[in-house]
Symmetry: C2
Subunit: 339 residues, 2 copies
């Protein structure tokens, strides 16, 4: 059975999976995947995936049959499961817990389309609706602390062999390290300034303008001041909100449109690179934040998009210290399409 | 000029380099490199590299001429330089500083050998001597806070086009995030237990035995309890010491021998994968550690080796949360050569 184990020095949780490849020979890369007609995610192949957990469907269609627009199914090889008990244990100085949680796949289109940017805006809206519904539903399980939504597009970004647009949802029984760091950082900032650091970043970027990629209908896309990777883009709602899943219908529509536009520019201007995006949203079970601040006030959801143009070397792993070969001001200029 | 910029949310420093590739077309991968005879790192090609900073040479040979065993030169495209001024500046809410520091390449052998494990033990000892000498020398610059030593072997590990065994040294004017996290974690442990967490890990691993790969002459190699990657290996000196550069001659010899053995097993048992290693050592300018503990007592240098068998996807970037598909106990068994 998979386990969650904690590094005793820096406190990082790791999933140790036993249901996936493990022997050295299992790591051989097989890049070629099924072609259209054999793809398990296409309409008509519903029996090739686990049962659907959620779907947006045309009226009158039945679950696990054709007629859907977006489907959410369990991963074929989930490393976290809702039917696992959340035991907690210590072995000597080490901590481990049962891998209770969920690992789901959002199939974003019934057609065999690889890149999300090639979907219609309304289709991307449906994908965002699926995200919101799943977070809402998973938040009701009191053993789940966080729901992570991310996309791996293209082989080098971990996208797998099947070229059909999809994203993943992972619900975890622990708070993740990077999420904690963001929460601690935004609290520290708020404690001193009594302002949300993300709101301040938005104001600053709008004032300066040089790193803004797109500012449309309340949604702002910028290249961050200190990016880890060339052409990294962050998308924020300009109105303060800690929780992605509390998007209004109008915000959802506007976000879908900006997301399509940014992903299209990345595809067209950067030669269709692999990319990842991760939705950064506040955890459900709010920790005590002290006297001056609450997560409601100091945290601000956003999406981080990372085109995979460079390899990541040992230096970055060992230190959390990145070298970005493209100044963000130049990257933003390029992504704005300035001449 | 390159800059160091700080992410205002989580406090991560990033080098923004302007002297490296930056336009999208510059990221096209070119994997094929010079063959033997054209390699700029081979003996006889000393004029193809910047001037040497340090070398171990045969008696009577001259700097920047043949006759060396190990050479340290500046990187051709250094992103940190000792002749850069260490200015510090704020722009709105953002912090940035001048990229003062050093970026050096350790050429580990005069022969065209790709993998460090194929060097003689005495040659690896010379490489470790070069590391120690450079840390010692860079520590005298009072603007340098940390010296990071790492190796990228193979294309996917960031090893570059030239297949000649080498490692890199980066001296930084800031303390790195991951280093700070380790220092904070080990201090937290010491504050409660009044024992070094690394010494406790060593004791625990020796007691249990199941994750030990090699225990020889005071040097211990284990697969850590919560590895990020399959077949990750950490090497510790069993005797407590915070500073890698205070290695005794005997420890250096024993470490060279264990390093060769572990890297050879990774090559032979895992089909010569790309890998990275990073030396984790204490910073020079010790921060105040409070009443109960000092870095001398609570930190313990070690080497982390990461074979690159899996791709890293968006999930890991967004969260610091890793999925390791091989249980460390099985990885250790395999690397021990157990039947």
């Amino acid at each position: 059975m998979p386990q969650l184990r904690k590094d005793p020095i820096i406190g990082r949780w790791v999933i140790i999976s036993t249901e996936r490849a493990k022997r050295p020979c299992d790591f051989k890369p097989v890049q070629s995947g099924p072609v259209e007609g054999e793809c398990p995610f296409c309409e008509g192949k519903e029996d090739h995936t686990p049962q659907e957990i959620f779907a947006i469907r045309k009226e009158g269609s039945s679950p696990n049959k054709p007629g859907w627009k977006v489907r959410v199914v369990s991963s074929i090889a989930p490393f976290l499961r809702l039917d696992t008990e959340l035991w907690r244990k210590g072995i000597g100085l080490y901590d481990l817990i049962g891998a209770r949680g969920s690992h789901e796949v959002v199939i974003e289109t019934p057609q065999h389309i690889a890149n999300m940017c090639d979907l219609e805006v309304s289709q991307i809206e449906d994908v965002l609706t699926a995200y919101v519904e799943r977070i809402n539903s998973l938040s009701k399980d009191d053993k789940i602390k966080y729901v992570l939504i991310f996309k791996n597009y293209g082989w080098e970004a971990g996208g797998g062999r099947v070229k059909h647009s999809r994203s993943q949802i992972i619900a975890t029984p622990v708070n993740l390290k990077r999420v904690k760091e963001e929460l601690e950082g935004s609290k520290r900032y708020y404690d001193y300034h009594e302002r949300c650091v993300f709101c301040d970043i938005i104001r600053e970027e709008l004032d300066l303008g040089e790193r803004v990629v797109l500012d449309r209908d309340g949604i702002l896309a910028v290249v961050p001041f200190a990016p880890r990777f060339p052409f990294e883009v962050w998308i924020f709602p300009k109105k303060h909100s800690p929780d992605f899943y509390k998007l209004t219908p109008e915000e959802k529509k506007n976000l879908a449109s900006v997301l399509k536009e940014i992903l299209s520019r990345i595809k067209n201007l950067l030669n269709d690179p692999p990319y990842n995006y991760v939705i950064h949203t506040a955890p459900f079970r709010r920790e005590h934040r002290g006297y001056w601040t609450t997560i409601e006030e100091d945290y601000h959801w956003h999406i981080e998009i990372i085109p995979r143009l460079t390899r990541v070397a040992g230096f970055e792993w060992g230190t959390g210290f990145y070298i970005c070969p493209t100044p963000p001001e130049e990257a933003a200029k390029y992504l704005r399409g300035d001449k």
